[in-house]
């Protein structure tokens, strides 16, 4: 096993972890503030990818917009997922706040309907976004050699999302409100904050991140049916391992799971899924709240 091989597999794990992080931190954010386990998170990922592609495809074919098509596709994907997320929160989840299990069941019902409607509208054919020229093709990386530039962009984007979320939560008024809401919703409402509005905002943000992940994921690999299950699963595992509602924990969880998946596929191909779950079970046995999770109060 050469150094180059080791580094390549590790970098592959890192890029996969980046995608998991982008998707899972939306899940973690929603759970952190609202204690809502959004079982439709994988479906929101699909909404982002499908709607983004529906906008991207005709633009890419046109001569005028082709160079901006991908960016517009991303924005459309984020907007669509965020919109669905807000509708979910306002129409269904908002008025059963505190009934966690019932909310989870509602989102399961919604995810079934969303997945089926996407299938009806867009069909089941696999598709893939084409990244703009700037992010397309290989680039020379020291010690590794040629590596797809888009994958490196994925890592950069994940770091940007992480830093952006951290700044948002720690340095802005909205962040203060959100963190106060995690600790005590009733007190926050008593302070005159419009909690339902904050909740809808957080849901839009979390769902939008799933939509962003959808477009990025469908640019890196072809998009096909069934990814909603995979990304729901990965969001769950990442957040369980890292700890609920913590950005650092989500990043750590995504790193562990991304690296474990890539290294697992190299070392013992057909058993790599097991490795993910061994990690999850081991973490749960020692840290039931996840690696960086807070004890529930």
């Amino acid at each position: 096993m050469s150094l180059q091989f080791i580094l390549t597999v590790t970098l592959n794990g890192l890029t996969l972890a980046s995608l998991y992080f982008i998707v899972a931190c939306g899940f973690s954010l929603i759970f952190g503030l609202m204690r809502t386990v959004n079982m439709a998170h994988g479906s929101l990922y699909m909404v982002g990818a499908y709607v983004g592609f529906a906008v991207f495809d005709p633009l890419y074919a046109s001569s005028v917009w082709a160079s901006q098509a991908w960016l517009i596709g991303i924005l459309a994907g984020i907007a669509a997922a965020a919109l669905v997320g807000v509708i979910m929160q306002v129409a269904f989840l908002g008025w059963m706040q505190g009934q966690e299990l019932r909310q989870a069941l509602v989102t399961i019902g919604l995810s079934i309907i969303i997945a089926d409607q996407l299938l009806a509208r867009f069909g089941g054919n696999p598709f893939q976004f084409f990244a703009p020229d700037m992010l397309f093709g290989p680039v020379q990386v020291p010690l590794i050699g040629r590596y797809p530039v888009f994958r490196l962009f994925q890592v950069g984007l994940a770091i940007a999302v992480g830093v952006g979320l951290w700044l948002l939560l720690n340095k802005t008024k909205l962040g203060i409100v959100v963190r106060a809401g995690v600790d005590d919703r009733q007190m926050l409402a008593a302070c005159g904050i419009n909690v339902p509005l904050v909740a809808a905002t957080v849901f839009a943000l979390g769902a939008g991140l799933a939509g962003l992940g959808g477009v990025i994921g469908a640019t890196a690999q072809p998009m096909a049916l069934g990814v909603d299950a995979r990304f729901l699963l990965m969001s769950l595992v990442v957040v369980i391992v890292g700890g609920m509602g913590s950005i650092g924990g989500t990043a750590l969880g995504a790193l562990l799971i991304g690296l474990a998946e890539q290294w697992g596929q190299v070392l013992f191909p057909t058993y790599s899924v097991i490795l993910t779950f061994v990690i999850m079970a081991a973490v749960l046995a020692v840290w039931p709240q996840g690696l960086l999770g807070r004890k529930p109060t």
Binding site: L233, L236, I240, T270, Y271, F277, L284
Partner: protein, 336 residues
């Protein structure tokens, strides 16, 4: 030990007689593909209802545990394609498969022993989806995507298992026995401790019961129940594939249990029957291939309007009409 009141016994007996007489009334399609199917999937849903109602654990790993039994029996079945190298007669394969499911249930319980409510739901879901992905990627044991085919089941009294009458009556007898087992267990000291854990695990621990061990035992028992369901489902489908234990299968069992009502073991079978009816006749109601939208909406409406399912609606109607204590109705085995 009294499992049910006399009146309940009478109702159960009437229900059982009707179910026993069904082959006289219904064509084979209804017998096998509606009622037979509802019974075998209802068994898996029953294991979930048992955990959810009496222990307060909403576990999504029951389909996975059933899948462990299904795959075990498929690997050991003498008729399997591809044939495994540990082929055994069905008389040995079936108990071993159920044992494997019991162990799998205990392991799930062990992994999730410190987690509660929503965390439990997430962890068991992750385990369930993970197991199906593992089965899909592993060729050596699980034959990957294709799964294992031609699991026709044993001959019973010299007749092939796939004969409609044999399949239906076997499913009915197994389902009825497991149903009675649940009603019996929840009256035993073990079942009472389980319900105490549901109501307050800290107080139960404080009066000296080992909460963790009881939880693991409950999951093992649920695994035993789901294992029988898994074996019968594998015979019903004449084989097993990773997708038959995947996310949607898992959610399907949850839907059955919730639609029927988590408040009573019978709800599992009612939900499974409704699910089978909708799955079969959805195309005539909502158009081709949109079954998932229909079932998703029904599920959503049930969760939004009546969290205790059809059984709860029935209980509420009875309470409204007869002015009887609803709690007594809805709780069934839990209260006397």
């Amino acid at each position: 030990m009294i499992i049910m009141s006399t009146r309940r016994w009478a109702l159960t007996a009437i229900g059982l007689v009707i179910l026993l007489a069904l082959p006289l009334l219904l064509p084979n399609f209804w017998l096998v593909n509606i009622f037979g199917r509802a019974l075998v999937y209802g068994i898996v849903a029953l294991s979930l209802t048992f955990l959810a109602h009496y222990g307060g654990f909403v576990s999504l790993a029951q389909t996975m545990v059933a899948g462990v039994a299904g795959y075990s029996v498929a690997m050991m079945a003498p008729t399997a394609i591809p044939l495994g190298d540990m082929a055994l007669p069905y008389a040995l394969a079936i108990p071993l498969a159920v044992f494997a499911a019991t162990m799998a249930g205990a392991i799930v319980g062990l992994i999730a022993v410190n987690t509660r409510e929503i965390y439990l739901l997430m962890i068991t879901l992750a385990l369930a989806v993970g197991f199906s992905l593992f089965a899909q990627s592993n060729i050596t044991w699980f034959n990957g995507y294709e799964g294992i085919r031609n699991i026709v089941g044993p001959e019973i009294f010299g007749r092939p298992f796939r004969t409609p009458l044999v399949f239906y009556y076997t499913a009915l007898v197994v389902a009825a026995l497991l149903y009675l087992l649940v009603l019996y267990v929840v009256r035993t000291p073990f079942g009472l401790v389980l319900q105490a854990i549901r109501d307050s695990d800290r107080r139960t621990a404080a009066i000296g019961f080992h909460v963790g061990l009881h939880r693991i035992a409950a999951f093992a028992l649920a695994g035993f129940i789901a294992g029988w369901g898994g074996v019968l489902i594998t015979f019903y489908n004449i084989g097993i594939t990773p997708s038959s234990i995947g996310l949607w299968a898992t959610v399907g069992v949850l839907i059955m249990a919730v639609i029927g009502g988590l408040g009573h073991p019978l709800g599992a079978f009612i939900g499974a029957l409704i699910f089978a009816l909708m799955d079969t006749f959805a195309s005539t109601i909502i158009g081709h291939d949109r079954f998932n939208t229909l079932i998703g909406m029904v599920f959503l409406v049930i969760v939004l309007l009546s969290p205790d399912g059809i059984w709860g609606v029935g209980g509420r109607l009875a309470a409204a009409l007869g002015g009887r204590n609803r709690n007594k109705n809805a709780d069934g085995g839990a209260t006397r």
